[in-house]
Symmetry: C2
Subunit: 192 residues, 2 copies
Amino acid sequence: MNGERADAARNRAVLIATAREMLAESGTEKITMDALAERSGLGKGTVFRRFGTRAGIFQALLDDVEITFQERVLAGPPPLGPGAEPLDRLIAFGRARIAFMLENREIARAALDGRARGPAGPTPMTSMHIRMLLSRLSLDVPDLDLLAMQLTGALDAPLLLYTAQDANAPRGVAMGERLALGWDELVRRVCR
Amino acid sequence: MNGERADAARNRAVLIATAREMLAESGTEKITMDALAERSGLGKGTVFRRFGTRAGIFQALLDDVEITFQERVLAGPPPLGPGAEPLDRLIAFGRARIAFMLENREIARAALDGRARGPAGPTPMTSMHIRMLLSRLSLDVPDLDLLAMQLTGALDAPLLLYTAQDANAPRGVAMGERLALGWDELVRRVCR
């Protein structure tokens, strides 16, 4: 049983690493269940059991980078990680989240393909982290839970629009910087 | 040709009115393609051509009330309609939108059933209206388009959460009032 589990974990690691290589070489398009099986040297049945569908491959890739992101937030260097002032952490969090989402938007889009409902997304973690930082800001706001949901929406909505629609080319300032500056501005206004 | 179009429009009006009656009597559950055909006295083929699927019935109901809402915003009495100060209109808009979404959440949920992607929702109109009001506030904000998207997200996100999840019973203050107060608070903070 332990041997089986170890095998499963090793296969998963091999498949994720292989999918990453393929992604770096030629983007999402050429990643299929068959191509991943062939390139990894594992059987099609193994790939199918691991991921279920092609979208499942990208969901697994996304989960993988999401965990790394969460580790940076929870235990990485400040101002994203602990140790900085809550307002600076809030601004740094939005900035990092925007960069993360833009960096991984091809994977995110491919992970959504064929899913029945829209992006459940990483909103719960985002909302919880924003809520935690808001509580340290001593704001005179009666409903911090709601404010955290609102700011999560304010952070996610422009990103989702951009990720889903493959928006027009950014003009002047690059899109990531534009979104980061807008987040900075919003948070300072709300928290002053 | 004109006769055919007039027939189609009349059939549509009859079907919408019938669906509204059924909705008022017993909620969304008993509204099916067959039941609507029987009750309206129109053929199943007509119902199918009008709406395509059961979810299509609810989408049509939603479009119908959405138009009424937009008319109130564009030409109704202030502060929701024209004539009030932009900040008051912005606050009134969020409050009205929240009430509208909560009032129509059963329809909205039923309209989503089986749709491939998440709610496209009425976000474009919301975002455009918020953008228009922001432009009249003479805020010292470099990117009003982005601020409008952020505020749209801040308005929509808690509502979508509530609409999609059939949230827990509101505690103390009713949910609509809680969301309206939170919108008021957020907008005042952003616009001061």
